[in-house]
């Protein structure tokens, strides 16, 4: 896989069409490429650069800022264990140590069977449910060592069909029907909105 598939190009054009400036679609498009290939390839980034009319360097510049974008292949399942303060207080670091031991890898590494990549992540907004983790950005709350082992086994044995492979984020996409669209507002659209004008608030 390299460039975006025809289906994904069509999706990409729909996404670009929702923004007043094409470059604003960059992050969603990078997610789309990662969904297709599991990580970001140079070819996909070059293709995205063409689609939004910027240089490949600009695409890489943006992509390399954000942690979720992976420039190298990763496991089918990204296992992100939170060790930030609320989780630390409730055993997040011990959970991470258990995961390292049972998977035989350190954070940032991938198991030799290509199934799991482990990450030691910052707060994922489940602080009252500590310790917590995400697998491909799906939450597991208040997880014990035993619960972790069970989860890994379930993933290995294909019992967690609710968790798609790494790269797939939301499985439901926004679609704006053509007849319901209000249309993009570009910085060049300097006229007062009709409902504001109608209310006689032009001087506000």
């Amino acid at each position: 896989m390299a460039r975006l598939t025809n289906d994904n190009v069509e999706l990409a054009r729909e996404i670009i069409g929702r923004y007043p400036r094409p470059k604003s679609a960059l992050i969603p498009l990078l997610h789309l490429a990662q969904e297709q290939d599991g990580h970001l390839t140079d070819e996909a980034m070059a293709h995205i650069a063409e689609l939004v009319s910027v240089s490949s360097a600009e695409v890489l510049g943006t992509a390399s800022f954000y942690e979720m974008f992976k420039m190298e292949p990763v496991g089918r399942y990204m296992v992100n264990i939170c060790t930030n303060i609320s989780c630390q207080l409730r055993g997040g670091e011990e959970l991470l140590a258990h995961a390292e031991k049972t998977l035989g890898i350190r954070p940032g590494q991938t198991t030799s069977d290509g199934l799991f990549t482990l990450e030691d992540v910052e707060c994922i907004a489940a602080c009252t449910e500590a310790p917590c983790l995400q697998v491909n950005y799906r939450y597991e709350h208040r997880i014990s060592n035993e619960g972790f082992d069970q989860l890994m086994n379930d993933l290995r044995d294909g019992r967690r069909s609710d968790i798609p492979p790494h790269g797939v984020l939301a499985e439901i996409r926004q679609h704006i029907p053509a007849d319901r669209r209000a249309g993009n507002v570009t910085p060049e659209d300097t006229v007062i909105p009709v409902w504001v004008a109608a209310a006689g608030e032009g001087e506000k």
Binding site: N84, L89, C127, E129, R138, A170, E171, A182, G183
Partner: protein, 447 residues
């Protein structure tokens, strides 16, 4: 004081269908939108001003006032929703997006109508797949039902609400960094002034950036009136607010309580809230408003959850994140963990933050690992002072945004209260250094 104030934004959380259009409509959903369309945009803005709804993202700036900062007669204006919840300890916006997405969308519509925005961007944190799915579904349903898009409910009000999402960067929660991200760039904050978003934001146009929880309050305010909202809470903190209580408590959870009157003690100890400290141990410290906030202690428990009071006491309610540490907590370890967060999340734009937070982490790490030096505590304070001159509250900053100074908060707190723990760790390290066997040093000096 524990009150029986109504639950404003979490009222549907107990319903299994709270995230669906049918569930929302069955519980009064989109009635505020109908009412607003008959009121006119100025009247809606006035209700929000009357409510004195403080922003729930962290800074606590009044939403109505923020809306009014957009320069007159400069069009177009944009609305950007900040759903990039990632301040350690904070867990509320994700719940609002997952469990009641239509309430947020209705809030976005009301704000867009009042401010005069024809396009709004709802920016959800990248790591929140379920929230993205729930909002995508809700938007698709709301478009089909005529609540969003062109000529909403047959009126002359039209707005597109675009779901967009990030890719993992705490700093994008800062509003100018969020705008950069939304323009497809690295999420680095812009220098303010001149780029206050209300004047020059997205595409250099007037842009209002509001937090998810802030906007979720709007349907209730429009339905019940700004005065009804302002009747709840204290003078400078109206309405209700969500607080996440995490850490060493018996019943960690997210609770919507009356703002300004409920106290930290109520929240941490009352059986209907967090239920007290785990194992009935003693309290060591608590963070009152997310990792950026200076820590509070036993003597602060009876303070109300009220913005001005907490500010004056030397911290902040921030993003409504209360993290409780019991007496067994290792202050050095906890402090290191919070500082490490800021070091990892520094965007690298400003030198004091990029270099300073990294050095703070390195120094704390060696103290924690048993290699601390007697000069390290002064060094910590010196580096902190270079990031945030004077180490005061509210913090001064040598940086564009408050991330760097935020790393100073835990150090200032821990050093003020638990300095002996740091000193003991360093003394142990010293002892270990001096107890190296003579033969060993001899042998190593021979290479």
């Amino acid at each position: 004081m524990i009150t029986d104030a109504p639950r404003i934004i979490t009222s549907r959380f107990d319903r299994a269908d709270s995230h669906t259009l049918a569930g929302y409509e069955a519980t009064g959903g989109y009635q505020a939108l109908r009412k607003a369309l008959s009121m006119g945009p100025a009247a809606v803005a006035d209700e929000v001003k009357t409510a004195t709804l403080l922003g729930r993202g962290g800074a606590g700036f009044p939403a109505g006032v923020k809306w009014g900062l957009a320069p007159e007669n400069v069009w177009p204006r944009y609305l950007v929703v900040n759903g990039d919840e990632s301040e350690p300890g904070t867990y509320k916006d994700r719940l609002l997006m997952e469990r009641d997405p239509h309430q947020l969308i209705e809030g976005v519509l009301l704000a867009s109508y009042a401010i005069g925005c024809g396009q709004a961007f709802l920016y959800v944190r990248g790591e929140m797949a379920l929230a993205q799915e729930r909002i995508a579904t809700a938007l698709n349903d709301a478009y089909a039902a005529g609540y969003v898009g062109k000529n909403i409910l047959g009126s002359d009000f039209s707005v597109d609400v675009v779901l967009t999402w990030g890719a993992g960067a705490y700093i994008v929660g800062e509003e100018t960094a969020l705008i950069e991200s939304l323009e497809g760039n690295r999420g680095m904050p812009r220098l303010k002034p001149p780029f206050f978003p209300a004047a020059k934001g997205l595409y250099m146009q007037p842009t209002i950036v509001n937090n998810v929880e802030t906007l979720a309050n709007l349907p209730w305010i429009v339905t019940n009136g700004g005065e009804a909202f302002a009747a709840l809470g204290a003078e400078t903190s109206r309405g209700t607010r969500m607080f996440a209580v995490s850490g060493h408590v018996k019943n960690p959870g997210v609770f919507e309580v009356e703002y300004g009157v409920t106290t930290f003690r109520d929240l941490i100890f009352a059986p209907q809230y967090a239920g007290g400290i785990l194992g009935d141990r003693a309290l060591k410290a608590f963070i009152p408003g997310g990792a950026s906030a200076p820590w509070f202690f036993e003597e602060h428990l009876d303070l109300p959850l009220e913005k001005v009071t907490v500010d004056r006491a030397g911290s902040m309610l921030g993003s409504g994140a209360v993290v409780v540490m019991d007496e067994t907590t290792d202050a050095v370890k906890a402090c290191l963990r919070v500082v490490r967060f800021f070091a990892r999340e520094s965007c690298g734009k400003c030198t004091p933050c990029r270099e300073g937070t990294t050095w703070l982490q390195n120094i704390l790490q060696r103290i924690q690992d048993g290699y601390g030096r007697p000069t390290d505590l002064d060094l910590l304070m010196d580096v902190s002072d270079n990031i945030s001159p004077g180490i005061t509250w509210p913090p001064k900053q040598t940086t564009i945004c408050p991330l760097g100074p935020s790393a100073v908060s835990p150090i200032a707190s821990a050093m003020q209260r638990f300095r002996p723990e740091f000193e003991a760790r360093i003394a142990q390290a010293e002892e270990a250094r001096h107890s190296v066997p003579v033969n060993f040093t001899k042998a190593s000096s021979h290479g």
